[in-house]
Symmetry: C2
Amino acid sequence: MSAYSTLEKKFRRMNALTEASGVLGWDMSTVMPSGGAEARMEQLAVLSGVCHEILTGPDVGDLFDEALEAKGELNGWQLANLREMQRIWRHATALEGDFVEAKIKACKRCEMVWRSARPEGNFAAVLPTLKEVLNLTQQEARIKSEIFDCNIYDALLDHYEPGGKSARIDAIFDDFSSFFPDFLQEVLEKQRSRPTPVMPDGPFPVAVQEKLGREMVQAVGFDFNHGRLDVSLHPFCGGVPDDVRITTRYDETDFMISLMGVLHETGHAMYERNLPPDWRLQPVGAARGMTMHESQSLIIEMQASRSPEFISYMASKAQAAFGSDGAAWSVENMRGIYNQVQPDFIRVDADEVTYPAHVILRYRLEKELISGNMQVEDLPQAWGDGLESLLGIRPPNDRLGCLQDIHWYDGAWGYFPTYTLGAMAAAQLFEAAKKASPEIPEALTRGDFSPLMAWLNVNVHNWGSFLSTDELLTRVTGHPLDPQIFKKHLKARYLDS
Amino acid sequence: MSAYSTLEKKFRRMNALTEASGVLGWDMSTVMPSGGAEARMEQLAVLSGVCHEILTGPDVGDLFDEALEAKGELNGWQLANLREMQRIWRHATALEGDFVEAKIKACKRCEMVWRSARPEGNFAAVLPTLKEVLNLTQQEARIKSEIFDCNIYDALLDHYEPGGKSARIDAIFDDFSSFFPDFLQEVLEKQRSRPTPVMPDGPFPVAVQEKLGREMVQAVGFDFNHGRLDVSLHPFCGGVPDDVRITTRYDETDFMISLMGVLHETGHAMYERNLPPDWRLQPVGAARGMTMHESQSLIIEMQASRSPEFISYMASKAQAAFGSDGAAWSVENMRGIYNQVQPDFIRVDADEVTYPAHVILRYRLEKELISGNMQVEDLPQAWGDGLESLLGIRPPNDRLGCLQDIHWYDGAWGYFPTYTLGAMAAAQLFEAAKKASPEIPEALTRGDFSPLMAWLNVNVHNWGSFLSTDELLTRVTGHPLDPQIFKKHLKARYLDS
């Protein structure tokens, strides 16, 4: 067997175990009784240890050398697969086993403290263990930055957005922040000139919401022979490509939260489901980083499902489902609700316009923290200052401020920017999709996502990790990530219509 | 680290992966969409491969040698653990990897053919692949019988009932078969002399059945913080000791099938749940073979739940739950229904009296097949003859005959006798429990299982695999498995009351 084939076999094995962990993770968040947690943590820890052993076995380095020497025998997909394998391997071998274990433990400890500190807004309680997490994160960043020959932030970012560069993100986010304050004022002013949207009268029974959600995700193309929709505290998309599982939570006073949440997760799910089937369990068959992943959830949720075309369809379906009537169900009013802009403290509740401000704030703060330019003690003050300068509001406490997101506390440093990069990629892809398939908006008035999904399958999903994010965008839209298109989209939706 | 400690570490790791497989297996049978099957099979195959590698690593033999040399340093539990580790290791290393893989594939193929052959009663369709499975099973039995120095049937039996001997089973089953025909006639005659039991009027809504089932299993001691109750096509007890998951299926025309099924699985579940907590993930901490496991389901279902004391409690709870009334709910009538005896073709539908006949038939046939004294072609004829001589009925087709059970088709040869050995052990344990805690029957009239469960916890569950089945029975009841007690129980329940 060639060195390359041996590597394929190893990665297939490792990824089957990673898939097993994915299903166990879904189980833990949806159906596992609380008393099963300790045993589950051990199962997951052993699985992750076995994967690490497969990946860092003493023969793997030589296999890469041999495979690279014989790379003339490989086709394009195999070469791309080899490149992705190496990337994963470099991340895995960069750190000593003891260091990785210490970091996992510190993150778990910190996350646990955070879980009780957050509701109390008690940042002081989590400070010592957050410092420990940051310290280990900085060490990881320094080690990887030397090996990858990049700056320390990019060494962390690479884990979520392969090849991502903070210099580029700085430019994109600086551009957006200089555009944003005036734009927000214009949007709010325009909004004030319109009638205040009225919520339709509830309650909206969970069973009806679930039925409506199932209809909508099937309209997007979600196949219940290859997936599930369940309930969890924090909605997510999990499982594996051939059995992709999305979750939501229901609020009987407001059906839109769940509906839009389900459509968002369906975007993630369709990406996983439609990854190139011939490359299952191989690195090149995996999704292309978090920017592209977020672009797929946001193209379904923000670009398609909040478009005037789809809202008109959805409003009539929802009204019929809940057997309700009244002026609140008019398309104009529903658009007002779905596209309402309101600066708020909480990122996950933010609208499309103010969301990037939350992300930019976190990105700037985490860069300062990782570089050591800012101390963790100064975070609450810096958070308040930052939010005030971006959104004009200041959180009254840390629960609504720097304690709101789990990311830093469980070690996900370098993740935040992908949310907004994904929103920008979604706008760019949607524009290109409509150009290639002009019937997309009209189809959405009938709840028909198929022209959009067909285009996404061919142009995004089926590529897996064959191309880098920018190569993929360039191939499909003619140019790398272009934040101007997102701005154009925001202006069109919030000022011009 | 001592050799023994290294072995403990290896088994802990391996058993955590086995637990992961257990959860994935539960998922597959309860919630997995059909399209996830292929990916799941690969996940499970890789997990099983990794476990096999851990167990058969080149250093393991030496570790056993070293640990045995230093066994003076080990306490009783550690010595028992070492013995169990060796037993598992001997099974795992007896066969070459290629042979194991070939057998797994043949069994999977045969099971798939069986799934479509069974509804059609088409034994000819499954014959070629069943021959292949039997052939590989015979090879396995021969290889293991040499290594274990036992006869070939016992080499297979050992996998399900460690240390079990067919010579002993022959004697027990021969004794029962000479007792059985006259006894059955007496029971049927006595039954005819009584009013025919009348089923209470349904329908019995699934939601009410589920609520009632949950109340009943909680009465047994099942803790929903450490377990679940779900629906599956074939009821089972799965999951892991700290998150033990039982399943049932509901029939709206007959609530008793599900209720008794749930109580049966709860018996299995309580055994798993109460295994010695200090020995989690170690072989000595596991359940002591299928005879003891079945004894725990049957002591709850057959001994306790079908006792007149519990039936009187259950009848009033069920009547109240379904809001129904009428003479059918009288305790006399409910006892008549719960203890009705009726020779039938299907093992899983059989009553307590005729069930052993089904098991004895299968045991005798599989012994003949494994030894080569009988050819697979002759199975339908031999099955009909055997059932006729034991129960006086002959199946009209193979669907109701030799195609009904999955066991032989998926490779579980040597399993069947444990069902009836378990029923006998249950009778023996229940007698001892009542002697030690005379309040047990009276408590059951109040739906209170706690005196019985307290006794079982201390005397059975907490022992894990520390003792052999007969050692455990001797310790707790004064003598090894004694089939006379089961006969006494049957006479008391079906003739004397």
